[in-house]
Amino acid sequence: MTERPYWLAAGTVGWGAIVFWKAAELPQFDQYAHVGPGFMPSAVGLGLVVLGLLLALQIYRGVPFEEQGAEDVGEDHKVNYMALGLAAAASALPMLTMKPLGFVITCTGCFVLVAAAFKSRRWHLDLVLGLGFSLLCWWLFRRLGVQLGGLLPMMGV
């Protein structure tokens, strides 16, 4: 972990600035309610900018950042970037595949990627289990009335 994560403060200020800039285009006050649609977002955006600057000040003063504890997290909090990358790939995969390939294939892919992130080395078993579990979920939740799309949207099924 970097000692002085200024980028956190920069991100907060940046997002606050975007919110403020978009809100500034809206009317801040109107005739009846006296407070227009732009007032609250402007205030929130401004608040974020101020908080981001405060955070930057804290970081400058060397405020410590301790990682949160969680179950199954190693004592030493050592970061495995390979595992992080695999898990991140699993959370990004649906953006690419959900529309063309459908729920079942997407979920199978996610399942295999997450299992690999957690150091499972039995690819074939993961694939079979993932496919089975995804199919089961798709079928079950469809029965319960949740819209999850077709089995293979590309082929019109």
Binding site: Q58, V73, C110, V112, F118, F133
Partner: protein, 505 residues
Amino acid sequence: MDAITGLMNGFSVALQPQNLFWAFVGTFMGTAIGVLPGIGPALTIALLLPVTVYIEPTAAFIMFAGILYGAMYGGSTTSILLNTPGESGAMMTALEGNKMARQGRGAAALCTAAIGSFVAGTIGTLGITFLAPPIAELAFIFKPQDYFALMLLAFLSVSVVMGTSKVRGFIALFLGLSLGVVGIDKQTGLQRLTFGVPDLMDGVEMTVVLVSLFAIGETLYVASRFGFQKPNLNPLAGGIWMTKEDWKRSWKPWLRGTLFGFPIGALPAGGAEIPTFLSYTVERSLTKHPEEFGHGAIEGVAGPEAANNAAAAGILVPLLTLGLPTSATAAILLAAFQNYGLQPGPLLFINSADLVWGLIASLYVGNLMLLVLNLPLAGLWVRLLFIPRPYLYAGILIFSLVGIWGVSNSWVDLAMMAGVGVLGYTMRVYDFPIAPVLIGLILGPMAEVQMRRALAVGQGDPMVFVSTPLSAVLVAVSALILIVPALLQWRRTRKIDMPDETAGV
């Protein structure tokens, strides 16, 4: 309708076979997720939201309440037998309970935890039964400025109390507020912060944010720092039941724990952690067996367990009567009410009396079910922890996709899942509290409505926000919450800085 008739009506609803079934499903799932890592009550309810569109509201809320109570029971089981608290409220239980289990007194610890939870849950539910209707009546005379002041207090206390740093707490809150303003403004029909994306016109979906922050953020975080120790199960030797001595030493901590848990749970940002900690500290100072503390004192299990269950009951009071969520779980329950087009608050007790009283009655039923589910079956629940982690977390991700994709089949939601998931990861690494984001997201738009209403009534005069006694008091308390800790810290740092300065000179 007074509380007794209401409750009787409620029982006639809760005891219908299909509602009993949903209460069982809820308590069963609640216990399971209380045992499992990586998934808690808020996330579970969020994932079930799309399903509930097809279940009638009373049944859905009975199930949700079962999940809320059940998670507290499940958390205690793993704390005692494995020293792994499944929920943050069970941390104190692990201290003494696990020591007891190691001495072969695990059964007695489980017993006092389960019965204590039952006692506290039942007393807490009695508290809801008799306190909620008068508070709801009170809410009728609330003006918009009172509501606004109440929400302001909730915002401030959530951000200040949760987490270690106030600045980070407020950043989390403002992130939530900024997501809350996205969408079409209800009063003027203008688009706000939609960036021209049609999917964002309805606003940011609570479920998507909650699931991404909890499930995706947690998966990324745990995967990157994975260190799995095989659970070390303590055998359940030494008799199933508590001895007479155990009973004698347990009943007072149960009651005291309840007294801490219920009111603190009902306060904004009270949560379950503070009362369990308080209860533990008090039992430690009151005990006649101080030498046992730290080595398996039964009071140290009985008190905190009662406190965390009573707190779970406590959070339902402001939620049902004022529509004010005080924790992540309460926030998602509020979102569930909104999904059904219901607005918690005083009118709920009149317009949906069956639902409210059925829900309250089901809490009594659910508590009894949990006692039966947990006492004899504790050994079985713990087996859940042996699920291989790759499959557990992969399964959680698939359920998350059901929850997110099932809401509206929107690609934007999937993109938000990845983005907010990374945010959740970052917040864990740099220790930002997560609950304020959700409170800001759901309460922000409500607070804005009340603010605009109050200003419209007051003809734009900002003094309207302190124009009623209640709003003035609440605003003053909010200001104190903000100023007092800052002053204390300023004094502390000055004390530390002073010698440095003189040393420098």
